[in-house]
Structure formats: C-alpha cells, structure tokens
Amino acid sequence: MRKVTLLLVIAIGFGLLSGGPRPAIAAGGAEYEHQEWTFNGIFGRFDRAALRRGHQVYREVCSACHGLKRIAYRNLMDIGFSEEEAKEIAAEATVTDGPNDEGEMFDRSGKLSDRFVSPFPNDQAARYSNNGALPPDLSLIVKARKGGADYLYSLMTGYADEAPEGMEMMDGMSYNRAFPGHQIAMPQPLYEDLIEYEDGTPASVEQQAKDVTTFLAWAAEPELEARKSLGLKVLLFMILLTAMLYAVKRRVWSKLH
C-alpha cells in the first residue's frame, strides 16, 4: 500500500507540474516577468476578444516585416471570425498563383485556403530591407523561445530609450531588457495608441503586447484548447479506470494473504 501511495503521489506530482508555467530561465542575463495568461493551466482557453485584437496588432504592425506562413486565412474562423470577415481579410492579400493555361504566373487576391502571405518573397529580400537582420516568421515564435508567451510579452514591453551606462550599443541596435544579450535589431514596435482597436479598448503598449502575444500563442498552438479539453476527459477516465483496476488487483490477491 505504501508503494501504491508513492506511485500515486508521483503521478499527481506530474499532473500539478504540468499545470504550472514553464520555469523562467533566460539566456544571456535577460529577464522577463510572469504574466497571467488565460491559456495557462489545465482549464486554459484563449481569450476571444484578445485574439481578435491581437490579430489586429499583427496585421497593422508586425506584418510589415514578419510572416505568419503556417496559418491559413480559414484558420481565423476557428477563433471567432465569421466566414465573411475571414474572406475579407484574405482578399486584402495578393497571392502569386499559376501557371495559367498560357504558362504565365499571375497575381490574384487571397482566398480562405491560402496561408498568410509573408511580407518578403525570400530571406535575402527580408534582410536587404532590414539592415541585414532577418525578421523571423512568427508562426511558432511562442514555442521556439525559452519563456514562451512571458518572454514575448517582456520583449514587446522591454525597450528602453537608453542603454545602461557603460554598455556599448552597435549601430542600429536597440536596448531591450528581455532579449538575450540586450541588443536587438528590431526597433521598438509598439507605442501608446499606435493603433485604434476596433472594440474601443485603450491601446496601451502593455495591452497591445498582451493581445499580440495571445494571438501568436494561438498561432503556435492552435490545438491547445482541443488538447486541454480532451486531456481532462482522458485523465478523468484513466483515474476512474485505475481505481477500479486497483480494486480488482486487491480482490485477486486477497486469496493469497
């Protein structure tokens, strides 16, 4: 019985561990703070209004330099956009298609089945326009950085006008508290009231950072809500089944003792 308890404690320990946020260890002395995210924890879900605002921030600010190539316009319908809205957003993009019957490539407006069109045709063009730096595609950015959403939020809000005294900044670089090494090629992207939210929410830097981080967290893990809700059912079922299996084991073994 003692060992059974031990095994159960280990199992529950894993469960609790998984509910909490990942440890915040940043490389290069970078620091970032934990935020409350609605999508953390075992009941986590994305805040629909934040997703919508975050999409607006991405479209009006980030998309000038950063692609989101793993998301299709149709995916917007998964997070509360109507089909008409998603079609309108898609139609704003210009997609190179073809070849047509005459063998020529042609431009057309985007459709629901297209992926988000990246701002540059290739990495070389992106570097050429950005002083040699490559703005990464944002589809997986929340999963691809230590600290995830907390890191991204801290990066968006971590700019300072002046580097601390004694720090040599390279030409064209900005100081950022959260970025490893503190020198980042991306200039500060978000400012107070940079955009006007469709739902009228005051657009502070923190608000925009929080919204766009939520949107990009969804882009990185679009399965998150399905995963967590299925996970709860699976765990509940497994715990009940295991309790019954324990009863069966006790009953079978009772003949021996």
Binding site: K3, V4, G148
Partner: protein, 406 residues
C-alpha cells in the same frame, strides 16, 4: 470461443501448439509470489514499445524525409492532420516515458542483483535493448529537422572523427556526404523505422531467457517449490494492469498538459546550418553520458569513456563478486547503490549545463566515481562485505514470519 480440444482449434493446435504455448507462457508461468511494484516496469517497457511503434507508423504516413520538407511536414501533422498533434505528442513524449521506465527497470535490476547467475544472458540482452533504444531515439530526434536536431546530429556524429586514422572517413560515410545533409536525414529515417523491429526481436529473446531462468525477486533467492510461486495470471496480470493505469495517468498528463516540457524550444526553429545555437544539449536521457564525454579533456578518451560507461554493464555480472543477489541482505552495497544513483543524477545535471567553472570538476569527479563503482567498489564488496543471513525460502519469508521491510 475457439478451444484447443475440438473443431478448428484442435486442428490448429495439432499442427502448431499455439494455445499450449500461450497458456504456458502467459497464464501458468510460475512467478515468485513476492514481487513488488518495481517489477511492473518490465511489462510497462514492452507496452511503451508497442505504443511507440503504432504511433510511429501512423506518423510515418504523414512525414517527408527531406531537408526542405521535413520540418514543414511535422508542422502539417500538428496543424492539419486530424489528431496529428496527439499522435506526435504521444510519440515524442513516449520516448521520454520509455527511458524513464527502462531506467527504473535497470536500477531495479541493480538493486536486487538481477544480473547475477543464472541471469547473465538475460541481462546482456537487456543492455543490447538499451543500446538499440538509444540509437533509435537519437535518430528519431533528427527527423523533425529543427535546430537542435541538426546540431545534435552534427556534434554526436562528429565524435567518430576521434577514431585514429579512419575517423574522418567514418564520419563522411555516416553522413553520406561532407556535412549533415539530406542523405543523412534519409538514412536516419530508414534506420529509425527499422531498429524498433530489431528491438522487438531482442525483446522476444529477453523474455525467452526470462522464462527459462524465471524472475528474480526482492529476496534474491531461488524459488524452491510450488509454495514459492504463483501463476502469472491472474495475479501479475491484475497487478500489471493497475501499474499500467498509473503509468498512463502520468504519461497522459504530460502529453495533454505539458507536451513540450522535456523538449528544447530551439527545435521549433527550422534547421539552419549557418547558425549554431548558443547551447547544444542532447535530450535529457543522454545527459549523463554527455557529461562523461566532456569530463575527459581528450576527444578520443572522452568517446571511449562514454561508450565504456555503457559497455561496462556487460561485464557487471563478473565484477560483482558477491554471491548474495538482493541489496536487502547486503547492508554496505545498499548504501553504495544509492550513492551510485545520486552519481548518475549528478552526471545528468552536469550534462545539462555548459562545461565551465564548477561543472568541469564536478563532472570529472562524478565520472571517476561512476567507473570506480563498477571497477573498485563492487569487486571489493564481494570480498569484504558481511551479508545478512538469507531466508530459507520465499514462502517462509513472506507468509509466516512476514517479509523484511526495506
């Protein structure tokens, strides 16, 4: 129900006695009556192997082994294939669970002396399975073609360049080119698909050897008669089912709620041969060996020590001179067992950190202790340790006087 006594069942049984075989091996198989929960991990490892093969085959139907498409095909599985995320997370974390289960299985063997006569070949087959698992896991980690996939492959395959004279040629041969590239990815994919079935073959031999010499037990003494044993079914089938339930709760908690806990964020960046990540680390289950590799200041020496740390397990049955199997009756060995376990964890911790400052010295001391455990402590203990008296029989120890606690 098909019965072996009549009809089609008898027709089959007369030609291939499969019913008799199944009854003999899965139902009647006499098992010590005193196995504790640490004995659950063998069957759990077998079940995990099946889960890995099933999820792996389904993933293979969606995966593209090409440097230009591998990363994208994995993301397609995650986003567009129905329940693709579930299959991939089951497979990815299944590797972690497999190693957790197998490491517990191995340490159980170390504690209760399961490698000693007459179980040397059973132990050898287990070590072969471990080596095959490590090769399979290493090649599987390459397939998503993320940054860590690429750079871990580059670092580890480069180790073979330490071989004198032919080292560089071996590395070129492994890569199928002059750098890790498309031929490397293709052959690793082919071998990653092949090796699990080789593991199945060795597992069958492992179970065959087990059923010949029978299970060891917490007392480490042989079964002497029917009073010491119970049939595998229903006793251990019921116990294994319960253990499987507990295992699945832990496994599913990770898959559904922390699927990337054991992973490196860098592997969600597509492989880029032009950009080296600041800190290249292997998966957690390789960290102790990685620490041993880096503890030796010489490249060839490090490679020899790393492989030696695994190969030494083959000679363990002859390094441990004690006639008593179970640590329950070996008061000094018991202390050293726990020290050895702590040493392995320290090695893992060192392996996860950059080889600088205090980690260099700690890694070297821990490596020296790892080998001393096998080469000095175990042979000496066989000579000097005064063991406790063994019980007369399993039945005598666990039914009338009660089992000794530890």
């Amino acid at each position: 129900m098909i019965s072996p006594d009549k009809g089609i069942g008898k027709w089959i049984e007369d030609r291939l006695p499969i019913f008799e075989f199944a009854k003999h091996s899965l139902v009647d198989y006499p098992t010590p009556r005193n196995l504790n929960y640490w004995w659950n991990f063998g069957s759990l490892a077998g079940i995990t192997l099946v889960i890995m093969i099933v999820t792996g085959i389904v993933l293979a139907m969606q995966y593209t082994p090409h440097v230009d498409y591998a990363f994208d095909s994995v993301e397609r599985v995650m986003r567009d294939v129905n329940y693709g995320w579930l299959l991939r997370y089951l497979h990815m974390n299944g590797a972690t669970m497999f190693f957790i289960v197998v490491y517990i299985h191995i340490f159980r063997g170390l504690y209760y002396g399961s490698y000693k006569s007459p179980r040397e070949l059973l132990w050898w087959l287990g070590v072969v399975i471990l080596l095959l698992m490590m090769a399979t896991a290493f090649m599987g980690y390459v397939l998503p073609w993320g940054q860590m996939s690429f750079w871990a492959t580059t670092v580890i395959t480069n180790l073979f360049s330490a071989v004198p004279l032919v080292g560089e040629s071996i590395v070129t041969w492994l890569w199928g080119g002059f750098a890790v590239g498309n031929p490397t990815l293709n052959r690793f994919y082919a071998l990653h698909y092949l090796l699990p079935f080789v593991i199945v073959g060795v597992v069958i031999l492992h179970i065959w050897a087990l059923h010949t010499v029978k299970s060891n037990n917490p007392l480490g003494i042989d079964m002497k008669g029917p009073q010491d044993s119970i049939p595998f079914h229903p006793y251990y089938t019921a116990k294994d089912y319960f253990g499987l339930g507990v295992f699945l709760i832990a496994y599913m908690a990770i898959v559904f709620f922390a699927p990337n806990f054991f992973g490196e964020p860098d592997n969600y960046i597509p492989a880029n041969p032009m950009a080296t990540p600041p800190h290249i680390v292997p998966e957690w289950y390789f960290l102790p060996y990685y620490a041993i590799l880096r503890a030796i200041p010489d490249k060839l020496g490090g490679v020899i020590a790393m492989f030696g740390s695994l190969l030494i397990l083959f000679v363990l049955p002859w390094l441990d001179r004690s006639k008593v199997r179970s640590a329950r009756f070996r008061p000094i060995y018991k202390q050293f067992f726990w020290l050895f376990l702590v040493d392995c964890i320290v090695l893992g911790w060192v392996g996860a950190n950059p080889p600088e400052g205090k980690f260099v010295l700690i890694g070297q001391v821990a490596t020296a202790y790892y080998f001393s455990h096998f080469l000095i402590i175990l042979p000496l203990l066989g000579l000097v340790e005064k063991t406790k008296p063994l019980p007369e029989s399993i039945a005598a120890a666990v039914t009338t006087t009660g089992p000794p606690k530890d």
